[in-house]
């Protein structure tokens, strides 16, 4: 019943943004709609604590612990972004940069984006997962090219070509997997739960080729290294709340779909070597992004490369395996979502106040915008993996798992890249916040005070996860790890 409520409310809010002419009404109705979805996801978490998995509507919707974590991340980051967009879009309309009609299109596409992500997250049908991912490509390509100037159009064109090609390759892989699972059967059952049992007597070659195609194809949407070229442009040109949602949630969701297929294929006897796919692509992503981060001149592009690095860490965690590797990877994906949205929304505040994206033009933020500077420092510490926050524990447990399983060289490269990222990221942010080049006198900007509440909300989520960790959160994570299997 809750599923019907969520989807019908999202459809209603998108229709409202289409017909209503009043911008404030549209944005408040979007925020309320996503608040209802968030409450429904909290209810799902409570339901999952008691039973291991729930299925609705016959076999169309299937919720277990992996799913429920993703739904929670989607709705909470969407709530934070919706609260932020209210002020952000209102400012842009009042400055005259966009018209009210384009602002309504923004809210329509925002609702469509959340709708398609939720379809991917709750679906049991493997084709439904793929269709949801393709629908997110449709919804976000116009959000990236929102401002319609030269750089945005370039970023949007690269995004749509690269991601659509990747998804076609992924579909070829899915078709191969299903062909080998249902070899000779007359009726093809697409649900994930039945594919899990159908793999006892199937062809090893098809499985290997199919999973590799799925990994490379859907890995384009995750942002693994040779296929990452759209990410740095797309996330730096999109409006800030959309960047936050794409970085924190969409990359995670594509990783979740790859993980579903990995669970199916892993139990087949000859395929124990598939984890090396994860480790190799994760390490290449980590190396490429950590070296690229050192020479960036645009702070939003820096944050986009940091997303690639974090996705590499999650892939390495899944590849290393064992209880601690997978536990660390799942914990990292949750905390990264909130930390990255904190950073992107803070960067959005910077952009609307200082109107420049270049790092060397931003100086002495501690005097210009002190409240934002505090949140930026905290966000940077979360992303880089510094001790009081949960990212330190997740990265450390992944390292632990790597040494336990005997991958010494990979763990060594992983550690080196993490140290590189720690130093480089910290250096750039400390320069932006504390540097005072000519000893000029800086006066606090008026614009510092607005749009702080979404940042507070993101930080509140991170703290909430830490406080409820040993009660709610760790049981859900442990159930999720046991679904993936060791």
């Amino acid at each position: 019943m809750e599923i019907l409520i969520i989807f019908s409310i999202l459809i209603i809010t998108s229709i409202i943004s289409f017909i209503s002419k009043n911008l404030k009404f549209v944005s408040i109705s979007t925020t309320c709609g996503i608040l209802v979805c968030f409450l429904a996801s909290v209810r799902f978490i409570v339901l999952i604590r008691q039973s291991d998995s729930i299925a609705y509507f016959g076999n169309l919707v299937y919720l277990d612990s992996l799913n429920v974590i993703q739904i929670f991340i989607i709705t909470s980051v969407a709530l934070i972004a919706a609260v932020y967009s209210y002020r952000y879009i209102l400012n842009e309309v009042m400055d005259g940069e966009i018209s009210i009609k384009r602002a309504r299109i923004y809210y329509f596409l925002f609702n469509a984006f959340v709708f398609s992500m939720l379809i991917t997250a709750v679906s049991n049908n493997v084709m439904g997962m793929w269709i949801g991912l393709e629908a997110t490509t449709i919804a976000t390509s116009f959000l990236i090219g929102f401002h319609r100037d030269k750089l945005s159009l370039e970023a949007a064109w690269k995004y749509i070509i690269i991601c659509s090609t990747g998804l076609i390759v992924g579909l070829v892989g899915i078709i191969m997997l299903i062909y080998s699972a249902e070899y000779g059967a007359t009726y093809v059952d697409f649900s994930w739960t039945s594919l899990l049992q159908a793999f006892s007597s199937s062809n090893g070659l098809y499985n290997r080729i199919g999973f590799t195609l799925i990994f490379v194809g859907l890995g384009t949407k995750v942002g693994f290294a040779p296929m990452h070229t759209w990410l740095s442009d797309g996330h730096s040109e999109a409006p800030s709340p959309i960047s936050a949602m794409m970085s924190g949630v969409l990359l995670n969701l594509a990783m979740y779909v790859i993980l579903r297929f990995y669970i199916i294929v892993k139990s087949f006897p000859g395929l124990g070597n598939l984890k090396y796919l994860f480790i190799v692509f994760g390490l290449v992503s980590l190396i490429v992004s950590s070296f690229s981060m050192l020479k960036q001149t645009n702070y939003k592009r820096l944050l986009a490369f940091s997303s690639i690095e974090n996705m590499g860490i999650i892939a390495i965690g899944i590849g290393f395996g064992g209880f601690w590797g997978i536990f660390g990877a799942l914990l990292h994906s949750v905390v990264h979502a909130f930390g990255k949205s904190l950073l992107f929304l803070g960067a959005g505040n910077l952009l609307s106040a200082l109107k420049t994206k270049r790092i060397e033009k931003v100086n002495s933020l501690v005097r210009l915008m002190p409240k934002n500077a505090v949140f930026l420092i905290i966000g940077m510490l979360i992303i880089v993996g510094s001790p009081p926050f949960a990212t330190f524990f997740s990265e450390f447990s992944i390292l632990n798992a790597g040494i336990q399983q005997g991958h010494y060289i990979s763990a060594g490269i992983y550690l080196l890249c993490l140290i590189l990222v720690f130093a480089g990221f910290l250096n750039i942010f400390i320069r932006m916040i504390f540097k005072n080049p000519e000893g000029k006198e800086y006066v606090k900007l008026e614009k510092d005070n607005e749009n702080i509440w979404p940042l507070v909300l993101s930080l509140a989520f991170v703290v909430l996860i830490t406080i409820t960790f040993s009660n709610y959160f760790v049981t859900i994570l442990e159930k999720a790890v046991s679904i993936i299997g060791i």
């Binding site: 090219g145 159009l153 370039e154 070509i161 090609t165 076609i168 078709i175 062909y179 697409f190």
Partner: protein
């Protein structure tokens, strides 16, 4: 009958890889989609199942009528109507497409169904068109050829439910509409659709 249609599909793939004029690309794509639609009808007639007919009708409607209509509307505004200096020359692209067909036939000899091989050929030729060209409209055509290959592959391998087929074709339609709108805007802002101008955001 089926072999003739498969041969038409492969020949259009080779010829389209070598085209330089943009309006010929739309015509070639139309012929290819017509051949695939007729193939679906023939398969439905031979095996007697009704779901092949539905896929055939949907493919014909979207890929021979709607998508070329979108492409023509955005092509009308373009000033230059041929590809000036592609990355791989026109004649060499056709030759490479032909070599790919031969290689794929040899590699995939274990499969006894013809359409899987044709599907993979279309995928590879579409990828060649995507990579080796500089104009945005040709890249879009390469993507659509890849989608044609996907339809062939999915016809021969598994039998998908009706709703999923409709949704996949709807997605292709929406993505082509979005690409056509984006090409229109690229033309308006840059005054050309050469993707050489789209490289300001390098590292």
């Amino acid at each position: 009958m089926l072999e003739i249609l498969t041969a038409v599909i492969l020949i259009t793939a080779i010829i389209m890889a070598g085209f330089r004029r943009i309006n010929l690309l739309t015509k070639g794509f139309r012929i290819q989609s017509l051949a695939i639609g007729l193939l679906c009808f023939a398969l439905g007639y031979l095996s007697g199942e009704s779901h092949y007919y539905v896929i055939g009708v949907l493919t014909l409607i979207t890929k021979t009528v709607l998508i070329p209509h979108f492409m023509n509307r955005s092509i009308k505004e373009l000033s230059a109507n041929r590809e000036m200096d592609p990355i791989i020359n026109g004649w060499w692209s056709s030759v490479i497409a032909g070599i790919f067909i031969a290689v794929i036939y040899v590699v995939m000899e274990g499969f006894n169904s013809d359409f899987i091989i044709a599907g993979v050929v279309l995928l590879v030729t579409g990828a060649l068109m995507l990579v080796a060209r500089k104009k945005a409209i040709t890249q879009m055509t390469g993507f659509l050829v890849m989608e044609n290959g996907l339809v062939l592959l999915e016809l021969s391998m598994i039998k998908m439910g009706l709703l999923i087929d409709i949704l996949i074709i709807l997605e292709v339609l929406l993505i082509s509409a979005i690409m056509a709108i984006m090409i229109f805007y690229i033309n308006k802002v840059f005054h050309s659709v050469n993707t050489d101008y789209l490289s300001n955001l390098k590292d």
